[in-house]
Structure formats: structure tokens, C-alpha cells
Amino acid sequence: MAQVQQAADARAAAQSRVRLELLAELVRKDLKVKYKNSALGFVWSMANPLLYLAVFTLVFTFFLPNGVPRFAVLFMAGFLVWSFFNSATLDATGAVVGNANLVRKVRFPRVVLPLASVGFAGVHFALQLLVFFAFLVPFYPDAFGPQLWLLVPALAVAVTFTVAMSLLASALNVRYRDVQHLLEIVMLAWFWLTPIVYPVTVVRARLAEEGLLWLFRLYMANPMTAVVVASQRAIYNHPVVTVDGAAREVLPAGGYGFYLQWLGVAAVVSVALLLIGRWTFRRLQADFAEEL
């Protein structure tokens, strides 16, 4: 019996190894295809965040000043992780449908298709993060402090939540092609409901003024808000700034409890969603070849 178990374990290990290799191969393919015949290659993956950076910095420091010093750093800290989530999820939504020919003709673990989208977005995210940090060294050295460790749980939650959304969206999209269109709109709304272009403290202050502070909990329950706010706190190391002699709280000050607590909530939500996503994917994948 022990031997049988061992053999089964070995087979399972070999299988997951093959899956990982397949995943790596698919990500490599996507990267190669994307930058084939392109002189600048990876540089283009910086174009999108740089454009956003330029536009939002112009708007929120010049047209509509929000009074946040070094707004660009705060914005980028949240925006990069958001754009990882956004592009991975949207790309994964079409991953199974887009590989219809393969799904109909070849037997392979279908789950690698949405995961490859996450991997592809992950590679871009890593590169963008690298460039961002290179920029921080001379222009914002304050980022390099112990608070940077917050990035570890924040990114772990971000990846979990992204994988969960990707599994769910890619599987559902095979049956209901609306998911793609629906998600594009939802993501846009979601972007503005997440404190990326405005500090989270503004939301808390406004809700408090209206006597709706209880709503703030709901606002924070959005896993992407917890991720974005924690990422901002990890990099933007000035939770309280002095503007015109008055102290102003840009990010919740007073320890990391606030961030860790909401990251914890986000982690629970993400894991739950991951289980739902995995269950849904497994249930629906038997019919993929038929539905396509």
C-alpha cells in the first residue's frame, strides 16, 4: 500500500511539474508573440503606466490639485498593482475562448490557460515594479524602510485574488460571452471605487462628515482596496504630511494594524473566492470542448 501511495505521489509530483513547465512555456510564448518584430520590445510595457502617470499627475496636481505632495509616488504605488490585477483578469477572461482550437483538439490541463494570463501580467508587473524602484532610489529614497515589508502580504493577497478572479471569469466566459463585456465595465467602475487616484483618507473623511462611517468598512472590504492601500503605505512613506503648516493624514497613520487587519479580511475573501473559482472551473471545464 505504501508503495502504491508513493507511486501515486510521484506521479502527482511529475504531473504538477509538467503543468508548471507548460505554464512557463505558455507565458514565454505570449511574451514572444507580443514582442515579435517590435524594436522596443519590453519598453512598450512601460508605456501604459507612464501615460497614466503623466495624465493623473497633470490633472491632480495642476487642474484639480488634491494637495498630496509627491502624488506621483502614491499613484504609482497603487496603480501598478491595480493594472496587474486588471490586465491579468481581463486577459484571462478570454483565455479559454481564445484558445478554442487547442481546447477542442488537445488534452491538457485547461487551468494553465487563465494561469498563463496571470503569469504574463505578472512578468510585466515585475518589470514595471523594477523600473519604479529604480526611479525611487534617487527621487524618493524614503521608500526604502522597514514598512516596505508590507508589500509582501499585499502582493500575496493580490496574486491570490487575481488567480481566483481569472479562474472564475475564464470558465464563466465560455458559457456566457457577456462576461467579457460585463467585466470591462465592472473593472472601470472598480478602478474608481478603489483609492488609486485619490487617498483613502479622503473617503473616510467624507463618509464621516455624512455620518456614514459604517459604510467605510464596506468600502475597505473590497480586497483590491486593502491591497492598494497596503502597497501605497509600503512605498509612500509619508502617511502624515504637513501642508501649509497643517498636518494632513494621507494614509491611515498609527502603526500597521489597520493595513494588516484589512489585508487579513482580503486574504479570507480571496481564498474563499479561489475555492469557488477552482470549483467552478473544474465543474465547467468538462464541457469546454463542447461549448466552444
Binding site: 507548460l22 510564448k29 514572444k32 482550437n101 487547442l102 477542442r104 488537445v106 488534452r107 457577456d178 470542448a289
Partner: protein, 408 residues
């Protein structure tokens, strides 16, 4: 006995043919009650057990469920009823080069395709040169696949697929592509797999291939197994199923004013009873009925074609004239059928004996079946096999003489 490699028990596959398919949420909600869909069983109660090392040919008319069965066995489609168990590594060649990306080079696609088929990068590296050599693509391997010819594309796809070293090979009509030399190569590869003990199930429309490669033939029709057993019989079964589809009529010149072929009867001359199966050495008789204008001159030719479309002999009648009622019958009698087993075809023609003009011609694809004592091979010969002492060097040289000895 070892468990079969492929085991399908009571497998059924139902497809829903949606007349109005709800592909969006809106439609799903609106059509929830009134959605009109029709169930269509592509497979029904299929029981199939294939032991390790068997080569099974899967044949059937178009739409009989062959491809669906392969997809179910390879795990691409889930069966609606029943269970499927396949033991070992499966390679399913349902479409060669599925998953190739035109933008990538041949080399990159080999790695990608091999990964999809379940090879690790290291394994692919080990087989890479073999794959390229097999596909005969050495000079083009670093070109983008979108610039490949369809032949090159398919060769590369096949080369990758067969290097996965599967235990079970499921092949769907992919051998029909490529030129003759590549097809031969594919068949050699299949023979190599057979020797290695690989279990092979393949779909083909080339019926003469079935007895040549397979030890067993399965005929599917309307999703059910019609025949499971002898490959020659399987091919014949399908030919008769296709009916006149295999009988090629060439009656361009047929008119009411000319003699035409009306009917044929195949029987045992000794008993006069109809017969479809003969043994080598037996006698056979064929009556050919002609119809046409009374008194019209005619001559009948009957050409007999053996298995694998080899023309065997031709029989010509003497000139004759149709009777006053406009009919005539010609009887061909064969005293002894040759000792070649398989499916025989007839090509019949009725001609003007003077001018040699063909009035009417027909081909009967599966005229009769010749069976023998053993199941394998197309001829029965007397033979024996025994272990003998290996001769010494000198003795061997003497025996071989100057014809030389071939090293195996």
C-alpha cells in the same frame, strides 16, 4: 490477465442541438422556459476494451461518432453516460499542429507543442534533433511557422506528437495528409509503436489500411458499435453499410435502346444457393442479368479485383444477343478461387461485341469475402517455426555462400 489499456463501459455522449442557443445571459434568462433544444446521441452504449499492444481500426460512415469516441477516450469530451478508463500516457493526434502559433518559429513551436502534449523542456531538448529530422525541416526550423507550407506544418505536428512516446496513441484521420513518402514514414512510425507494445486506436477512411495494420476492426454507425472483431470483416461490413456508395456506376451511355446491366447473383455452383463468403479453392458462380431491346447484341466482361485493389483476373463472355423479351443472363463460373483472403470487388461491363463500345459498367466494391483458416495475413501457407542451434561462423559462411550474409 492484465487490465485493458482502454476501457469504455456503456459510454454515451449526448449533444444538445440548440435551435436557439443561449450564448448570453440575456438570452439565457429570456429563453429559460422556451429554449428549444434537441438531444442528439453521438455515442450510445459503447463498450470497448482494448488490451495493451493492440492496434484497432475505428471505421464508420461520416457522422457515425468516430471522432467523438476518440475525443471521449482522450479526455477532451466528458461522456454523458458510462465510464472511460485509459491507463498510461495518451497522445491524441486529433489534429496535427493544433496549438502551433504562426508567429513563432518552428523551433519555438516544437517546445510549446511538446509542453502542451506533456513533455518537460528537458525531454524536448533530448528529442529535438530527432523531431526536426523526422519532419525533414532542418533548414526551416528557425523560420516562422506561418511561412510553412501545409505539408511542412503537418509534418512538424506529427513529428512532435509521435515523440511524446505514448503508451496509448489515438489517431484521427491525420494520415490522409502529407505526400506519399511522408505517409509511408507515418505508417513505419506506427509499426514501430506496435513493436514497442503501444496501444493504438485509429480512425481512417482508407479501408484497405485496416486489414494491413490492425489486429481488430471496430465499425461505428449512428454512435453504436456495429462490429468489433476481424478487421477484414469490419471493412466489408462498412462497405456494405455504405451500400451503393462503394459501387461506382459508370453508366454515362446508358439508354433505353441499349443493353444494360440489370442484376447480379453470386452463388455456390454446387448448391445453387446464394453465398457471400467463400474459402480459397472453392467454386463460385456469378449470374449477370442484362436488359435492353430485344435481339440487341452484347458481350459481358467481369473483372475481379482482390484485396488492396489488386486486379486478379478478367472474364469475357462470348457475344450474345438479348432474347425476344429483351433480357439475357450470362453465367460466369470460377472453378477454384485463389487462396487470397479478403474483400473482392467486381467491375462489370456490358459492351457492343463488334464495336467494343461500353454500354454500361458498374463497380461492386464489396462483391464477396474470401476467408481462410487463420486470422492474420492474406494468404494461408504451410509454415513452421522452431528453435534451432545457432550455426558456427564457418558453417554460416558456407551456407550463405557468396550471396553474403545480411546483418540484421
Amino acid at each position: 490477465m492484465a487490465a485493458p489499456t482502454i476501457e469504455a463501459a456503456g459510454v454515451g455522449k449526448r449533444f444538445l442541438l440548440h435551435h436557439k442557443r443561449a450564448t448570453s445571459l440575456k438570452e439565457r434568462l429570456l429563453l429559460h422556459r422556451q429554449s428549444s433544444s434537441e438531444a442528439f446521441w453521438a455515442l450510445r452504449d459503447v463498450d470497448l476494451e482494448i488490451g495493451a499492444g493492440q492496434t484497432v481500426g475505428l471505421i464508420g460512415p461520416n457522422g457515425s461518432g468516430k471522432s467523438t469516441l476518440l475525443k471521449v477516450l482522450s479526455g477532451i469530451l466528458a461522456p454523458t453516460t458510462g465510464t472511460v478508463t485509459v491507463r498510461g500516457r495518451i497522445a491524441s493526434l486529433l489534429e496535427l499542429g493544433a496549438g502551433f502559433n504562426g508567429e513563432l518559429t518552428g523551433r519555438e513551436n516544437v517546445y510549446l507543442n511538446a509542453a502542451i502534449l506533456g513533455l518537460t523542456r528537458r525531454e524536448t531538448q533530448r528529442y529535438f534533433d530527432d523531431i526536426v529530422t523526422f519532419a525533414e525541416l532542418e533548414p526551416f526550423i528557425d523560420n516562422q511557422v506561418k511561412h510553412y507550407s501545409s505539408g511542412q506544418y503537418v509534418r512538424l505536428g506529427f513529428a512532435v506528437a509521435v515523440h511524446v512516446s505514448p503508451d496509448v496513441l489515438l489517431v484521427d484521420e491525420v494520415l490522409a495528409v502529407g505526400d506519399e513518402s511522408f505517409q509511408r514514414k507515418c505508417l513505419n512510425k506506427i509499426a514501430e509503436f506496435q513493436q514497442r507494445g503501444c496501444t493504438i486506436l485509429f480512425v481512417t477512411h482508407a479501408l484497405d489500411l485496416i486489414p494491413r495494420i490492425c489486429s481488430r476492426g471496430v465499425v461505428l454507425d449512428h454512435g453504436r458499435v456495429l462490429h468489433d472483431g476481424d478487421p477484414v470483416e469490419a471493412a466489408e461490413r462498412l462497405r456494405s453499410l455504405l451500400g451503393t456508395g462503394a459501387d461506382q456506376a459508370g453508366r454515362a451511355d446508358v439508354g433505353p435502346d441499349r443493353p444494360r446491366l440489370a442484376a447480379r447473383r453470386l452463388f455456390d455452383p454446387a448448391t445453387g444457393l446464394h453465398k457471400g463468403h467463400f474459402r480459397g479453392g472453392e467454386a463460385m458462380a456469378v449470374d449477370v442479368d442484362l436488359a435492353g431491346p430485344a435481339g440487341a447484341p452484347a458481350a459481358v466482361r467481369l473483372a475481379v479485383t482482390g484485396p488492396a485493389d489488386v486486379p486478379l483476373w478478367v472474364m469475357d463472355s462470348d457475344p450474345l444477343a438479348l432474347g425476344p423479351d429483351g433480357i439475357a443472363t450470362v453465367r460466369f463460373t470460377v472453378k477454384e478461387l485463389p487462396q487470397i483472403k479478403g474483400i473482392y470487388a467486381f467491375a462489370m461491363a456490358v459492351r457492343d461485341p463488334a464495336a467494343g463500345v461500353t454500354y454500361d459498367a458498374r463497380r461492386i466494391g464489396e462483391a464477396f469475402l474470401a476467408v481462410g483458416d487463420t486470422a492474420s495475413g492474406i494468404v494461408d501457407v504451410e509454415w513452421s517455426a522452431e528453435q534451432v542451434e545457432t550455426p558456427g561462423e564457418e558453417e554460416r559462411d558456407r551456407a550463405a555462400g557468396d550471396r553474403g550474409r545480411s546483418q540484421l
